[in-house]
C-alpha cells in the first residue's frame, strides 16, 4: 500500500469525507452500545429526537451550540495561521467575568446599551487574556500551545476565587443562603439579552451575534488583505516575512481576535443563558476545548463551524435531556470523540491518495 500526496484536492472530497466519517463514527458508536448491552438503533433514535425533533429540542440545541460557535470560530481563526490557541476555554471565562461585571455596573441603563457594553467588555476580556500568549509568542517565540493552556487553569482558579473565596463585587453576598452556598450576583433584568421567537423556535441574541461573527470571519479571511496575509504566514512564516509582512503584529492581532471571539462567547453565556457567574458550570461545560474539536471538524471554515456546532450542540443537548438510568452517561462524549477520530482519519483521504499496489 502506498500513500501519495494529492497535488490537487477534488472539491467533492471535502464534502464526502466528513459525511462518510460521521457515518463511520455512528457505526462505531453503535458497536460500543451493542457491546455494552444497549440497543443501538433505539438509542440513536432517542438521541436524534431529543436533539432536533422533539418539542423545543431545537431551541435547546441552539442554546448548547451558541457557545460552541464562538469557541469554534475562535479556534478556527487562530489555527488557520498555525497559531494553536487552545486557550479558548480561559478566554471564554475571562469574557464571562468582564461581561458580567459590565452587566452589573451598567444596571439601570437602557438595555441595548448594556448589550453593547457587555459584548465589548467580553471581547476585551478575552482579547486581553489572549494577548499574553500572543506577545510571548511574538517577542520571545514561546510556544503558545502551552502558555494558552496554562492560562486556562489560572483563569479558572481566579474565577473560583472570585465566587467562592473572596468578597468580590461579582459574588452574591446578600442573604444567608448566598453566604453558605456561594454564587455569582444575578445580572439585572435589563441586562438579560433579548431573544426572538419564530414558529416556536427561540433565537437568542447571542446566537445571532455568533452568526454575524461567522460572516465577519469569512469576509476577513477570504476577501481582505489581512486574511490573505494570515494564510500566507500560516503556510510559511518565512515566505511571509520575505514578502514584507509584519509577522509579529499578525500573530498578536490574530491571537487577540481569537480571544475576543471566545470572550464574546463568555459574555453571551452571562447575558443569554446563565445570568450569573457560575465557575463550576462553565468548567464542566468545557466549551473551549469542544470548540477546538468543532473547528477541526469544520476544517476551519467559519460556516461549517456553525453547522458542526449545531451537530455537536445537539448531541450535548440530547445527553442532558436523556440523562438517566437507562441512558448510558458518557455516551455523548464517546460519540463526539469517535466522530472526531473518524474525521481526523478521513482527512488523510482528502490530502493523500491511497494506492493499493503490490
Amino acid at each position: 500500500m502506498r500513500i501519495e500526496r494529492r497535488l490537487r484536492q477534488p472539491w467533492w472530497l471535502t464534502v464526502v469525507v466528513p459525511v462518510v466519517s460521521i457515518a463511520v463514527a455512528l457505526v462505531l458508536s453503535g458497536v460500543v452500545l451493542f457491546l455494552t448491552g444497549h440497543p443501538p438503533l433505539k438509542s440513536f433514535r432517542r438521541i436524534i429526537d431529543a436533539a432536533f425533533i422533539a418539542n423545543g429540542a431545537l431551541t435547546e440545541t441552539i442554546i448548547s451550540a451558541t457557545p460552541l460557535i464562538f469557541t469554534g470560530l475562535a479556534a478556527a481563526v487562530a489555527f488557520r495561521m498555525n497559531l494553536f490557541n487552545i486557550g479558548g476555554e480561559g478566554q471564554l471565562y475571562s469574557g464571562a467575568i468582564t461581561g458580567a461585571a459590565v452587566g452589573l455596573l451598567m444596571a439601570g441603563s437602557p438595555s441595548p446599551l448594556i448589550f453593547v457594553g457587555m459584548i465589548v467588555a467580553g471581547a476585551a476580556g478575552g482579547a486581553l487574556l489572549a494577548s499574553i500568549p500572543a506577545l510571548l509568542r511574538a517577542f520571545f517565540s514561546t510556544n503558545e500551545i502551552i502558555t494558552s493552556l496554562m492560562l486556562n487553569y489560572v483563569v479558572a482558579l481566579v474565577l473560583e476565587y472570585l465566587i467562592f473565596d473572596s468578597h468580590s463585587y461579582l459574588r452574591d453576598t446578600s442573604g444567608f443562603e448566598a453566604n453558605v452556598f456561594p454564587q455569582g450576583k444575578t445580572l439585572p433584568d435589563e441586562a438579560t439579552w433579548s431573544s426572538w421567537t419564530i414558529h416556536g423556535l427561540v433565537l437568542p441574541l447571542g446566537f445571532l451575534v455568533a452568526l454575524a461573527v461567522a460572516v465577519f470571519v469569512w469576509v476577513l479571511y477570504s476577501r481582505t488583505r489581512f486574511g490573505f496575509e494570515v494564510q500566507v504566514i500560516g503556510d510559511s512564516t518565512r515566505a511571509g516575512r520575505y514578502a514584507g509582512m509584519r509577522t509579529r503584529r499578525k500573530i498578536v492581532a490574530v491571537m487577540c481576535l481569537s480571544g475576543a471571539i471566545a470572550g464574546i462567547g463568555g459574555a453571551s453565556q452571562m447575558g443569554d443563558f446563565r445570568h450569573q457567574l457560575d465557575p463550576r458550570g462553565l468548567r464542566d461545560a468545557s466549551y473551549g476545548y469542544t470548540g477546538i474539536v468543532v473547528a477541526a471538524l469544520a476544517r476551519y471554515n467559519p460556516f461549517a463551524v456553525v453547522l458542526v456546532a449545531l451537530l455537536i450542540g445537539g448531541l450535548t443537548n440530547a445527553g442532558f435531556t436523556l440523562q438517566g438510568a437507562d441512558f448510558p452517561a458518557g455516551l455523548v462524549g464517546v460519540m463526539q470523540g469517535l466522530i472526531l477520530f473518524c474525521a481526523l482519519g478521513g482527512e488523510l483521504f482528502v490530502r493523500y491518495r491511497v494506492r493499493f499496489a503490490w
Binding site: R5, L149, Y153, D165, R351
Partner: protein, 319 residues
Amino acid sequence: MNNSLVVVVLASGVLYGTPLLYAALGEVLAERSGVLNLGVEGMMLMGAVMGFWTVERMAGPTPLVLAAAIGVAALAGAVMAAIHAFLVITLRANQIVSGLALTIFAGAAGLSSYLGNDLNLAGKPAKHQFQEVFPTSWQDLPVIGPIVFGQSALVYASWVCVALVALYLTRTRLGLNLRAVGESPAAADAMGVNVSRYRYAHTLVGGAFAGVGGAAFSLSITPQWVDGLTQGAGWIAIALVIFAFWRPTLCLLGAYFFGAFTALPFALQGHGVTVAPELFQTLPYVATIVALVLVSSRAARLRFGAPAALGLPYVREER
C-alpha cells in the same frame, strides 16, 4: 515535629505528586519520540476506572489484586494511546486535535464515565487500596519518617521508574535512537532507525504510564470511582513535562513541587492560617509559563527545549 507544616506539606506533596509523576514520565517518553499527546487526562481516567474495576471484581490476596489492577490500568492507558498513535503516526493527523479528541472521547464525559456507570462502579469505596509499606515505627522517625517511609508501594515504584527512564534515555542505544527520532526523524531514518516503530512504542508506553497515574487516584489518593476523578491532573502532567525540560529526574522534583502546591492551602488551614487555595494553586501554572519563557531563547531552546520534531508527522518522501 512530624506535624510541622513543612513535613506535612512535603509528605502530601509526594502523595499528590505521584500520579503526576507517572503521567509526566509517560508523556516525556512520547514527546521525546516527537509525539505530543494531549490526551493524558483521558488516558488517566481510563486507567483509573479500569484499575478500580479490577479491584472490585477480582478475588485474591490484596497485593496480587493491586498488581493486576495496575496492569489493567496500564493496558487501558496504552489502548487509548494506540488510537492517538494510529491517527497521528499512520494517518498523519494533527497531533493537537487528535489528543484533545482523545480527552473528549475517554474523559470525564466520555468512555471512562460510560464504563464507570455501566460497570456500576460509582460511589463505592475500593475493596483494596495501596497502604503504607513500612512499619509505623519507621514512619515515626523525625522528618524522613512521613516523607520517605510513610508512602505506598506506588511511590517507591515511581522512583524506580524515574531511574529506569533516565538511564534508558541517556545511557542506552535505544534511548539515543529515540532522542534522534524526536529531534530529527529524517536523520534517524537515514541511520536505519524505524521512526514509526519508535513512535508507536513510546506513545503506547507513555499511555501505559498515564494509566498507572490514573490508577494512583482511584486506588490510593481517593480510593473510589467518581466521574472526572483526576480533576485535570492530566493537563498538569503536560505542563510538568515542559516545566521539567523533558527530563525524567526533573519530573520527579516538579511533580512534588506541583503536588505540594495542591496540599499547601489545606495544610495551612490545619495550622489556622486561612488563605485562598485558588490563588496558591495558580502558582505552578504561572511558574510553568515563566520557565517556558526563560528557555525560549534560541540557545536555551537547543539545550533545554522541546524535541525539535515534536508535533510534526514524519513522511519519508516529504522533507
